[in-house]
Symmetry: C2
Subunit: 461 residues, 2 copies
Amino acid sequence: MTETAALPQPFLAGLEAIFAGRLHLGQAMRRQHGGSESHFATVAPDAVVFAHSTEEVVALVKLCNEHLVPLIPYGAGTSIEGNTTPVRGGVCLDLSEMDAIVEVNADDLDCTVQAGVRREQLNEALRHSGLFFPIDPGANATLGGMASTRASGTNAVRYGTMREAVLSLRVVTPDGRDIRTSRRARKSAAGYDLTRLMIGSEGTLGVITEITLRLHGIPEAISAAVCSFETLAGAVDTVVQTIQCGVPIARVEILDDMQMRAINRWSKLDYPELTTLFFEFHGTEASVAEQAETVRELASANGGGEFKWSNLPEERSKLWEARHQAYYAAVGLRTGAVGWPTDVCVPISRLAECIGETKRDLEGASIPATILGHVGDGNFHVVFVLDPDSKEEAAEAEHLNRRLVERALAMDGTCTGEHGIGLGKQDWLVAELGEAVDLMRTIKRALDPKDLFNPGKIFSL
Amino acid sequence: MTETAALPQPFLAGLEAIFAGRLHLGQAMRRQHGGSESHFATVAPDAVVFAHSTEEVVALVKLCNEHLVPLIPYGAGTSIEGNTTPVRGGVCLDLSEMDAIVEVNADDLDCTVQAGVRREQLNEALRHSGLFFPIDPGANATLGGMASTRASGTNAVRYGTMREAVLSLRVVTPDGRDIRTSRRARKSAAGYDLTRLMIGSEGTLGVITEITLRLHGIPEAISAAVCSFETLAGAVDTVVQTIQCGVPIARVEILDDMQMRAINRWSKLDYPELTTLFFEFHGTEASVAEQAETVRELASANGGGEFKWSNLPEERSKLWEARHQAYYAAVGLRTGAVGWPTDVCVPISRLAECIGETKRDLEGASIPATILGHVGDGNFHVVFVLDPDSKEEAAEAEHLNRRLVERALAMDGTCTGEHGIGLGKQDWLVAELGEAVDLMRTIKRALDPKDLFNPGKIFSL
């Protein structure tokens, strides 16, 4: 263990008393917890602790209050807007070892898990129950982290985001209370919606330690399809019309030509290097066939090529394989590159225009960039693939991202569909919501008057 | 106009300046705005104003701040937990004349309306767009009121509650700011979820003046069905199995034998006086037929009688007619009676037990009471039919309601599925959520430090 000058000795003694061998002060562990999967600089916290119970979290919160030390809740570290970077130092509270599945209520289609459970682990545990948890942000994130950033991903068009998926939370508040935000009933009108207030608050209002989640029955039938388009507009129009027709599609993802090229190189595949849509349909056998046929007709009318379709598990996985590797494939376009994934969401009637203008911007850029997105919701990402040592490239990406966010806001969209504000979107939050951000600040000051819970995130006080 | 001693003269002059002929101080108008559709005593506000714009609401809020006068937002007055009763006097802000449909974005499946628009008016206006707004709490409530109480009703099992239906709100805050809580994108991770914080806050945190709502395409096919059951358990088990099978049912309502008797008397009909389920299915022709067949089989296996089914609009309306009149039919069981509708919601695995025990309680009671509910969500109501002059009956209803709520809480349910806390459920809110209610109080104090917005509701400070 290395001495950490920033933390007072009595505080360290308190950490020792609570966590013993699960307190880490060494450089390697601290730096690992101060990093990011995106382009943000690493900032090491002063200490890392691994909690094993809500009671330990309560004890930590009381200790931090006593010594005015900041506390940053941490899950899998897969967030990408610098959401866990300890900008004011303090203790990183790693919850990944609180990974018990507390209960599965199969008859109620819900379960309760500790915050450190990862989504793949949950679905593995549910495998024989006939149920599944649909939210899939790509990364194998923790459920606590997903709740904290209001994550969503590919299935949100059908199953909603973490906002809809969470029934109740167990939360340790900044004053050290251990509360439950709601009962397990499907709906309730009992007072302020503390559950939704905590979801998306990025650890600034409380530490989530347990989550009660809605589950869904594994559909009787699942089918997948892939279709390439001559034009970007044809692909986007197909999606918009699918949504407007009310087809209850489970997933629909867009990948542009550059992204498909990246995938072919990364995975040695031979997809046409054209804008491509990946679909998934859930339902009864009859319903899935009906949905796929409707979408096939729409795709065909919009210049779609062959509609590759399968309802067999292995073939489905193969069809979707490319999509799952998209981010790493994009970053792999350049050796030693770093990825910067942006994130906007617009009303669907503006989606074709928004993606089209963005594509034209990227075509004039000097840095490689791909487009991919959960377009059924109007949500898409540009992934800039940057030389980490080039200030010019960073500035160009900054400029392109500024144009992208301004475009989305001008269309009554949001600066972040699913990644959160973290450090990266704070100015845009104000551009998006104006004085409403002052309300958020008022709530933060009221619930965390010492500004100890993940300080400096979402907004500065 | 009658003099209202409770309000200072300069305040009244301020009201005159803002509202002129839309300021009312007369007894009749004041009493009408202090009443309730339920058993709560009428308490007249000191004044009633009808706002015509958000700017007028801002001016009123500033005036109330200056003179420390409470303000109670009011829509159609159809809430039933005393949610708008002016317990500390003040000004009733009637928003029912802010009834413009601001815009319909058919391509985005959304619309923006002023707070005073009623749900039937909205659906009438949408009639030729191919879209509809699904939330139906029974009463022809205003959308502002529905958002304020987190209303839901018969369609929630498929389309969600006001929590899911609202994309964004325009809100005047207690310090007189005119904010918008979110953009029009389908999803966003931009900071704290102020939209959901306002929904269900019953006017205690802000005055909602505009609401942006998700709409849905009118389904290609709709069918309705009605089925009677020899036993209450058979009916409830049918519902539970329907949900567990993942049938995407649009509505499923239970009415007990007493409720069916009330309906036969009220509407001169001849339904079997047995526990009855009312179903509605939405989808494509094929999907609706498939759903209905699955449910018919489940009903039959649970002792259901004839499954009366129709997909013709007039026949469907006829099948559902009885359900729509249920509350008034119940109250009509006794001449001059007053209805007291209770409201609990439990995890669906406990629903049969919860309704069964409640029914046994009611069978031993001396006052008539019916059971009806949106059982697909685990939500149901007992309607007590009371002699308004009998203290004994009020006490007995109180006792039975206490047993009902305690039963629901013991099953990890909620004391209110959709009616809100208002005056009637304040003790139960604390029983349900414990110290989490202190968080709500902290938020209230921070956003409304003078306690002027619908004071005394949800909790006492």
